[in-house]
Amino acid sequence: MAEKYKVIHYLNQFFGQIGGEDSAYQEPLYKKGPVGPGNLLNSQLENAEVIGTIICGDNFASENPEKLVSFFRQVIADEKPDILVAGPAFNSGRYGMACANLCKSAKNLFGIACLAGLFEGNPAVDLFRTDIDILRTKANAAGMKEAIHNISNVVSDFSNGDLVSDANRNLFFPKGKLKNIFDKDTASDRALHILKLLVKGGEAATEIELPHIVNHEKAVLKKKLSEAEIALVTDGGLVPVGNPERLESRGASKFLVFDITGSEGLQKDKWSINHEGYDKQFVLEDPNRLVPLDALRYFEKTGKIRKVHQQVISTTGVATARAVCEKLGREIGLMLQEQNVDAVILTST
């Protein structure tokens, strides 16, 4: 019979049955075999067993992470485990951080497959999700049975050094990367399969869930238009001829700022477009078709607005990740606020 995989389980002082907050400074200790919820885990494992449990107080782990790692190193040398299971820590911040830190060391320093069980709101999730495999759990110990069940399934299927597989991927938090994989069916067959379930009145799974967008509080113009300073911003990839600052034509990582003090409009021989997502010819003929500086100057002269902000801001809005767009938007917003700009006209292509 094949040998079973060896699992080390990490628990805090409470789940490790040492004590409550009063034991939060418990130094790390090692017990052979499973403890507490480790017993339930052990009973459900196939092809694996919990050979030992490391228990450590949450405060000790928070304040002395390197000592915990050293302790762990010693345990590994003695026991030679294949897998580390940390938690589940649910929504406990210190416990969650201890689990995540230990897993990161296990993976990076010792090459041991590991997972931590955490609730979505646990701060350790956002900090460590790209570094380690984090299994989703409920918010508190009411979700223990489900968490242990999921962990035991994942560990029981362990092979090839990877706890995460295409089959169980949905149990884990995504690391923030996309990946193409090959299905056994073609896209058209998959679409037809879904369609037939729906027309027969049934339910079907979708390959992508649409996101939930929150409402944004509306910013209000705090003065009359005739007293306002207006800035022009665009994501149409406006650049000076030659693009000296190398604004990307897609997937922008930055925004550019151009001084247009004294310019009546954007002159065509001074400006170019670096943007992959649209046909540039019309804007190249007259850049004011993208950034209406000539028209805004007209309103400055006639007094409809007080002032045209002396800078035009440009970036590229194609294939640019939402997170990057948000970051750029915030930097632009902060900068304009510091410069006392009252309102923005943003032109998108």
């Binding site: 409402n215 007259d286 004011n288 209406p292 007209y298 309102a343 923005v344 998108s348």
Partner: protein, 68 residues
């Protein structure tokens, strides 16, 4: 996305776009429909002076949106 982020700093934004659905989906507060993806503030088939007048009119409407 950029429009909403700028508004966090209490600066009202009018987004001029020819794909208003994207902005609506993002819950952008003020959306002005441009005259085409490749020339939001342009009307190429018009003579230059006419086009400039139309652009002024469009921008005027967009600026008015800031007040609401």
């Amino acid at each position: 996305m950029i429009a909403n982020e700028i508004e966090r700093y209490h600066i009202p934004v009018v987004q001029v776009t020819s794909i208003p659905q994207i902005s609506q989906g993002m819950k952008v507060n003020r959306i002005f429909e441009g005259n085409g993806i490749t020339h939001p503030f342009g009307v190429p088939k018009e003579k230059a002076e006419n086009e400039r007048q139309i652009r002024i009119k469009m921008l005027s409407e967009a600026l008015e949106m800031l007040c609401h």
